[in-house]
Amino acid sequence: MRTMDDNNIRAALERSLDGEPAGNPPMTDDVTRGRKALRWRRARATAGAVCGVALVVGAAYAVPGVVGGGTQASFFGGGPATPTTGPSSPAATPTASPSATPRPTTPAPRPSVTVPDTPKPTVARGGSTGPGKVDTLPGPLPTASFRGVVVKHLGTPNYSANGVSYSGTSPDQHDEELSWGTWSDGDAKGTVVVALYRPGADLQWIDKGPDRRSCAVRPVKSFVDGFSWTSCRSETLADGSTLRVAEGRDPHAAARGVTLLRKDGWIVSIATSTGYFERGGEDLSTLEPTLAALPLTVETMRAVVTDPDMIAD
């Protein structure tokens, strides 16, 4: 009796190959296909390398601080200049960065333009003042559609703009406008940041509050650890818009912010912090966040964000 044991399986498999077509395709066909595949592979490798380099370059501009001229670095590092000229701690004091020469650039994720900062920041313009002194040099906002409104409410004698940053889908339309500067009046002094967002814009500088909703623009440099909005209350205005009033802090500075979320989607936010002014040459560990030392009151900030001229569209 014939059975299929292990020894004749191969023979059986061979028999199953009966009916094999005669001949093979020309050898050149295999070589031609191989060459074509090789060309494709090399082309893909080249394209991949190009894309990789582009990604690295793009990421370098997108990630804050990776490139010195990045928006965040220039925005906060170069922005809120201090009137003090003493040494400072680079780790925690934005004043230690080259704040006198803000480098206005814009974030990479969206096409953007940045308008050069003219006039120069307070320190660069000779407004060097010691801690506690008043910076009285006039400093109009370098640009931004809301320049007039901010100057109107803050007053140029006390306000010195340091920089502005735009970003948007084209040079003609900015989805985001930011302005930062310093404000001082006697012992009250601090950083002031104003932000304006078109509907649907990426709110990259708007931090969330404890309720996980958009709260207010960040008034401190991005690498300052521990900053957060610790409270953020909402109120509905007569026109249906929402006003967010926030208080926050990092380990050494207090902050206050007010944000208007209009029904049509526009968002205006202003925030101030004692951070940058108070840190020039001082021992950071001795500083305590003090809301009373903030230069701007909620009422003043509210007046800024609710000013009908704030959005000039």
Binding site: M1, M4, I9, R15
Partner: protein
């Protein structure tokens, strides 16, 4: 250091002329379709050409071609559109009556009735002559798995053909 194109083509052609038929037969045993076997061979050889300098240096041309072909086949079988096929005959119902043990159609039907990986294990072990370890490496599984798969496959073939012997 890249290989000169002419040299690559020449060496590759030499290999293909020597092993192409063997590869196509191997592919046929896997898929039971000469046209599809030809497609598998072309795909494997194309990949082999791209990797030729490295493979040639390692001296693993045949193993690379075999493994590439096998993976191409198994990958295609995993695709949904390969899982079902239209056929005029009921598949794997039984061996056709009146066929002898030596009948190629009967044997093809018996082999076709094996699951893909069982069939691949049998072909690699008994037709290509690989060891258990080499078969396991080609199929990316353990030696124990190969043992059990080949055992089941042989049992199924034996049962199918024994039925034919009774009826024949």
């Amino acid at each position: 250091m890249g290989m000169d194109g002419g040299r690559r083509a020449q060496e590759f052609s030499e290999f293909v002329s020597a092993r192409r038929r063997h590869l196509r037969r191997f592919a046929y045993l896997l898929c039971s379709d000469w046209h599809h076997a030809e497609d598998l061979v072309q795909t494997a050889l194309t990949k082999l050409y791209v990797a030729w300098p490295r493979i040639r240096q390692e001296g693993t041309e045949e193993a690379y071609a075999r493994q590439t072909l096998l993976r191409c086949h198994l990958d295609e079988r995993r695709r949904p559109w390969r899982r079902e096929s239209v056929t005029a005959e009921l598949p794997e119902s039984a061996l056709p009556g009146g066929l002898s043990f030596e009948d190629g159609d009967q044997l093809r039907a018996a082999i076709r009735s094996l699951p893909d990986r069982q069939r691949a294990a049998v072909v690699l072990r008994y037709w290509w002559g690989l060891s258990l370890e080499e078969t396991a490496q080609d199929l990316g599984c353990s030696v124990g798995t190969i043992k059990s798969q080949t055992s089941r496959a042989v049992d199924r073939l034996r049962a199918a053909l024994a039925e034919d012997l009774r009826t024949g």
